[in-house]
Symmetry: C2
DNA sequence: CGGAATCCCTGAGGATACTG
DNA sequence: CAGTATCCTCAGGGATTCCG
């Protein structure tokens, strides 16, 4: 059940980089994690996994995202090179969003995470219900 | 470079569960991701990867975490069964935190993510610097 | 259709002080 | 040492309105 210890040490040491010069911004891994850990990025990337989608298609696929957040997150994903944007000069305009090569590559780590979540969420809920230390603030 | 399409479809469909009954809370995967995507959980888990640590040891290992957030996040991790807490009735008291079995198991998905981040952060920074659409609010 | 611009509010999280 | 208890800030993000 346990993983290769070498691998884990490498992972931890990656994070340790953060402390070396006193600034966490210097740690690329932390930077990436901060990005993917925002509320919508992963969702959008996963929606685009099946193929390119237009603005309102994504919106309908993620019903609880606001237009503002969709716009903003798509811009961030573009800026980071995970998503490309193609405008068709029609009337009314059509805009298509698509995963780039690097955007597609992030699906693999995502899927590993999702698998873990799927395999373990029951255990977590069990632990949670049999544990009554008040966590909430 | 691309992954197994079957796998990806499964991942996306996991997320799609979220929309089915209108509430995202119903999606276990989203729930887990929300958890691990908070600012400190992953950091703490990774620090504990090497072995049990005491409260102030963790604190020193993550210099920019506040005492409040360390306490709070450790409680959440306990509640979710990822971390165990052992109190030694000495004076002054010593408290040791340690990854549980399930807490250890999450290191694998983490490490995949970290590997991806490490392999791709340069490409992302490159994309970012050659892209001047204002993203920030 | 695909956004941009504004206003506003909530809550994550930092700073500080105190305690068993 | 290992926390609790408050107070307070500020940025993430929702709702609404307007635009080419």
């Amino acid at each position: 059940m346990s993983d290769d210890p070498r691998r884990l040490e490498a992972v931890v040491s990656q994070f340790r980089k953060a402390g070396l010069d006193g600034t966490l911004a210097a740690c690329p891994v932390r930077g990436i994690l901060d990005k993917i850990s925002d509320k919508w990025s992963m969702l959008i990337v996963l929606e685009l996994a099946a193929g390119p989608l237009r603005f309102n298609q994504i919106r309908r696929a993620i019903p609880d995202i606001s237009q503002k957040m969709l716009t903003q997150t798509l811009k961030e994903l573009q800026r980071d090179g995970l998503v490309s944007r193609k405008v068709f000069p029609t009337v009314p305009p059509a805009v298509e969003y698509q995963l780039t090569e690097i955007g597609t590559s992030v699906l693999r780590p995502f899927s590993v995470l999702v698998e873990w979540a799927d395999a373990n969420y029951q255990a977590i809920e069990t632990a949670r219900s049999s544990f009554d230390v008040p966590v909430a603030v």
